[in-house]
């Protein structure tokens, strides 16, 4: 597993970007009271932020998603084009799952909600400093969940069934869960030979060649999506 250092030799340099002065002020005080953090600047809108980031060279940018002039996504896009090696944590009251993925693709390292505790904020900064991604309360598991929720097909609903029978769809789900043929046979109260027959039919219908491709196809086409 990835190990997190407990401390860093020099303070983590942080830039705050938020359009609410009271929030910025409170956040700065919180961070400055914590050993190991140093606030190197504050920006109230997206226009000045990139210049400030270029001048101050922060390690971490705490970026409000909704700011005047340029919103957080536009700032992320601009930062990603610049040569500023800053790691950005989106700090926001709320965010759509699709925005999380968009932000990650633009180079953000994670999202922390404004309702989070101070300790969570500190944890998220240190986690991102250690090169990990941070979404919500946990570093990886919530991110995986968020990415699961925005898989390629829309709305979380099961997509086409590609002519698969109910039994075959059940077997696809068990394959994606990592069950072996004997396990599937036991779960479905059928013989292992019947499982192999079903899996062979599934491969033919979907045009896949092995279990890994079946699982990738199922994820990509939402064959196993939970009915909503």
């Amino acid at each position: 597993m990835v190990s997190l250092p407990n401390s860093f030799p020099s303070p983590i340099r942080i830039l705050i970007a938020d359009d609410h002065p009271l929030f910025r002020d409170g956040l700065r005080r919180l961070l400055q009271a914590e050993p190991g953090f140093e606030v190197v600047g504050e920006a109230s809108d997206g226009d000045v932020l990139v210049d400030l980031a270029r001048k101050t060279r922060p390690d971490i940018l705490l970026l409000d998603l909704s700011m005047p002039r340029q919103d957080g996504m536009e700032v992320l896009r601009e930062l990603s084009l610049s040569k500023i090696p800053v790691r950005t944590l989106l700090l926001t009251a709320s965010i759509e799952k699709a925005q999380i993925v968009q932000a990650l693709k633009l180079g953000a390292y994670g999202v922390i909600l404004k309702e989070a505790t101070t300790q969570r904020l500190f944890d998220s900064i240190q986690c991102v400093m250690a090169g990990q991604y941070w979404i919500g309360r946990e570093s990886v598991s919530d991110l995986v969940r968020a990415l699961r929720s925005v898989a390629p097909s829309e709305n979380g609903a099961r997509g086409k069934d590609y002519g698969l029978t109910t039994r075959e769809l059940e077997i696809v789900t068990l394959v994606v869960a990592g069950y072996s043929n004997p396990d599937i046979a036991q779960r479905c109260s059928i013989s292992e030979q019947t499982v192999k027959h079903h899996i062979s039919n599934i491969f033919d219908k979907l045009g896949v060649s092995n279990r890994l491709e079946l699982a990738l196809f199922a994820v990509n086409h939402r064959l196993t999506a939970v009915a909503s």
Partner: protein, 134 residues
């Protein structure tokens, strides 16, 4: 993402397997390393995976990779897929600056069935099930 090749493995090709655009967290390490590194998958096929990461790896480096299938299942945990393979190439990305894409060939994969917080059961094409402590 606009990859600019900086490293490539000579005389190596990725077969034209169907690529699935699946974005999920992937952990990888060079064979022999203890620590796992994180990246995001750009696409995955049965023969390879494209990873976006802060790190580049030399072509031909043997690597291990693991990722959870990013899907919700009714009453089950989706499996974690464990793969072994080697790096085909590393490319520097123009956006975001400081990131790389690593194209890796998958030589072997197996599914790790999640058993809640207690561990995993491994399944590969050659062997039966066995419990793993990871």
């Amino acid at each position: 993402m606009d990859p600019e090749p900086v490293l490539s493995a000579a005389n190596t090709e990725i077969s034209r397997a169907r690529r699935y655009e699946i974005g999920t967290v992937i952990r990888y390490r060079a064979r022999g390393e203890r620590e796992w590194h994180e990246g995001l998958t750009e696409n995955i096929s049965i023969s390879g995976v494209l990873i976006r990461s802060e790190r580049s790896l030399d072509p031909k480096t043997a690597i291990e990779m693991r990722f959870f299938l990013p899907v919700e299942l009714d009453g089950e945990y989706a499996a974690e897929v464990f793969c072994r393979g080697f790096v085909i190439r590393s490319s520097k990305c123009r956006i975001p600056v400081g990131t790389f894409t690593i194209a890796a060939k998958i030589m072997h994969s197996r599914f790790l069935r999640q058993m809640g917080s207690r561990g995993y059961v491994a399944k590969d094409s050659m062997n039966g099930n066995r419990r793993l402590a990871l």
